[in-house]
């Protein structure tokens, strides 16, 4: 995964409460078992004029040409609620979003974001939406600054921050503890040898 240190971009103001995973990526848009090919279906129900169509809905904020390269999404309360499907985070990441700023997050969705290289920031989105021009998210300093000088700070657990900064996935992160795991297994082998003596009789 791509490391995330700073992101400078316009923020797309999609400040709606309770955006669920089915809105982010409708299940009809998940056609293969693969993690890719999902960005086209991102917000399909809002982005296009009709179910199954690819005709652009000009009223939907994401279709505003100035946001074409935006990497930051603003949202409301309970962002990512609904089912636990990871496809929602995959679709956002594939579309190009690197940061989601919302008043609050569904915990599973939030975890899926971190696992897939998206920084979830819990902040009130309205003041940020008022900022003119691009904003800069700095994960090392855990701050957001607007061109005009306004700034906000946010929080993130140490491990999640490390994962995003270094572009690691959970396996990489766990492998950093490989020595601990090996030691634990060694001690466990003494306690429960039968778990490790796997010879079919």
């Amino acid at each position: 995964m791509k490391p995330l240190k700073t992101v400078r971009s316009l923020a797309v103001p999609l400040i709606v409460d309770n955006i669920d995973t089915d809105i982010i990526i409708p299940s009809r848009e998940m056609k293969s078992v693969s993690k890719t090919g999902l960005s086209d279906g991102l917000f399909a129900g809002w982005r296009y004029t009709a179910v199954g169509s690819r005709e652009i809905n000009p009223d939907f904020v994401l279709n505003d040409a100035k946001y074409a390269d935006a990497e930051i999404l603003l949202s409301g309360d309970n962002m990512g609620c609904g089912s636990s499907r990871e496809h929602a985070a995959w679709a956002l990441a594939e579309y190009g979003f690197r940061v989601v700023i919302a008043r609050s997050f569904n915990p599973i969705f939030r975890g899926n974001c971190i696992r897939n290289g998206i920084l979830p920031v819990k902040l009130s989105p309205e003041p940020i939406a008022k900022a003119e021009g691009p904003i800069t998210v700095n994960l090392e300093a855990m701050t957001i600054t607007a061109e005009a000088g306004d700034s906000w700070s946010f929080e993130l657990e140490t491990e999640a921050r490390e994962m995003l900064l270094e572009g690691l996935d959970p396996i990489d992160l766990t492998l950093k503890r490989a020595a601990d795991i090996a030691a634990f297994r060694e001690a466990d082998r003494a306690r429960r040898p039968w778990i490790y003596n796997l010879k079919a009789g």
């Binding site: 990871e86 396996i171 766990t174 503890r177 297994r185 009789g201």
Partner: protein, 472 residues
């Protein structure tokens, strides 16, 4: 305060805390099957990683392989062959044990794991398959995971897991004659709903549970995922030890003695507390059949199809209407008045030797109704051999059932063989979702007894009609 059995196993496997109520948990056994396993192994390999301990990983061919006699790598499911070849190749490359076609140990993953002594009391086991919860019946912590978690477990022998809440379902009293673990499972789901245990680790307890033999316990735990549970568990006891002794991968010699000693510490302390406690009475459970398209839409086989008012506390109007229409039922009519087109005995829920014996008891000397297509698929190659050794295959064949090679078969539809559209199937499986057994197929879940009896009668039927018949 004391600990639940689950907490004892969890704590013994906690390598470290990660924070946010997530722990790094040691995984003792990993099972794979060809539908999801080959993909996980390939993807692991593609990212340049390796299986941490190949000895702890086992793979089988169950989901996609044909169950027709004389099967090969070619399948009725389009692209099925690719999955089989990919799994075979990836297993070899990773150095893990594969129970391939024609291996005496092949079978449905949740049937062979207990049978081979892979799942053990107090062990942690994961598999990218939602019915892994079945295996908690032997007193281990076994749960279904997603594909990226499978890669994580393979690469590190651990998983990052959010600790589930705990829930005890106590069933006291006795099950009535003719009532089985399957009926109990359907009864529990209809009582507490298919979301009744979301986020919880269930411990089944009570005299009606301890009275079940190991195979029946596997049936009960199998359907925990239909309650939305993290998994289910039953404290191990003498029946489990006796069941495991001498099995292929079960501990031997000194290891067995040491294991037994440790297994006896796996119980819930008297003063342990659960997040939820549910009490049910075994004597309240009738033979059950599902009427709708969710396992919670189940009812006593002798009842009439419910009107909305009777189920409104559990079902929304929308899901009720949709289910009645999909299943083509008439509210108020006896469920037994509905004619069936097919009968299926198989799946990780009900395809073990004891299931086949009980169905054969009903079928012996009887004939399947002429309009019914009836199929029996033993859960493993070993179950099939044992059944044949005692002549059960002949009873099924004489009655008019097909007798197949082991696998998941028509428990689920993956593009290959299926029951026809709008056909009504009475089935010993665990999921009755729309199109689960084939496009537009109507599935009624029931015990093997009820399936056998319905096959004979040609309509949904109560197996207790044959009461007085000698049973094994």
């Amino acid at each position: 305060m004391g600990k639940t059995a689950f907490e004892k196993i969890w704590d013994a496997h906690r390598v470290s805390e990660i924070g946010d109520e997530t722990d790094l948990i040691l995984i003792d056994r990993i099972l794979l099957h060809e539908r999801t396993g080959g993909v996980a192994l390939k993807s692991l390999h593609a990212s340049g990683r390796q299986v941490n301990d190949p000895a702890q990983v086992f793979a089988t061919m169950d989901h996609i392989v044909d169950t027709l006699p004389g099967r090969s790598d070619n399948t009725l499911m389009p692209t099925g062959r690719d999955f089989i070849l990919a799994t075979r190749e990836a297993s070899k490359e990773a150095g893990i044990s594969l129970f391939d076609l024609n291996d005496r140990r092949q079978g449905i993953v949740h049937v062979i794991s207990p049978e081979l002594g892979i799942i053990l009391p107090g062990a942690t086991l994961v598999c990218p398959d939602s019915h892994t919860c079945s295996q908690g019946a032997l007193g281990g912590l076994a749960w279904g995971i997603g594909s990226s978690e499978a890669e994580h477990a393979l690469a590190t022998s651990t998983l990052r897991v959010n600790k589930p809440k705990t829930m005890r379902i106590t069933i006291d009293g006795e099950l009535s004659p003719g009532v089985t673990a399957k009926d109990l499972a359907l009864y529990i789901i209809s009582e507490i709903s298919s979301s009744g245990a979301v986020g919880h680790m269930i411990e089944y307890a009570g005299s009606a549970v301890t009275a079940l033999d190991v195979e029946a316990r596997l049936t009960l735990c199998n359907m925990a995922t239909e309650l939305g549970a993290f998994s289910a568990f039953i404290a191990p006891d003498e029946k489990v030890y006796k069941y495991l002794k001498g099995r292929d991968y079960a501990p031997k010699g000194e290891d067995w003695t040491a294991a037994l000693e440790q297994w006896k510490t796996i119980f819930t302390d008297a003063d342990a507390r659960f997040d939820k406690d549910v009490m049910l009475s075994g004597s309240d459970v009738p033979p059950m059949v599902s009427w709708g398209t969710s396992p919670q839409q189940s009812m006593p086989v002798t009842d009439d199809v419910p009107h909305y008012s009777e189920v409104s506390s559990r079902d929304s109007r929308d899901s009720y209407d949709r289910a009645i229409a999909y299943m083509d039922l008439e509210p108020g009519e006896p469920l037994r008045s509905f004619s069936i087109d097919a009968a299926f005995i198989g799946s990780c829920t009900n395809s073990r030797l004891s299931d086949l014996r009980r169905a054969a008891d009903i079928l012996i000397g009887q004939k399947v109704a002429p309009h019914v297509k009836a199929i029996c698929v033993p859960g493993s190659t070993s179950v099939k051999a044992l059944a044949e050794a005692e002549g059960l295959d002949q009873i099924f064949l004489d009655a008019g059932f097909e007798w197949r090679e082991s696998g998941c078969s028509m428990c689920f539809f993956a593009g290959g063989e299926s029951f026809g559209a709008e056909e009504r199937v009475i089935t010993s499986t665990n999921r009755n979702f729309e199109s689960r057994q084939g496009p537009k197929t109507r599935s009624h879940l029931a015990s093997p007894e009820t399936v056998a009896m319905s096959a004979i009668m040609g309509h949904i039927a109560d197996a207790r009609m044959l009461a007085g018949k000698e049973s094994r």
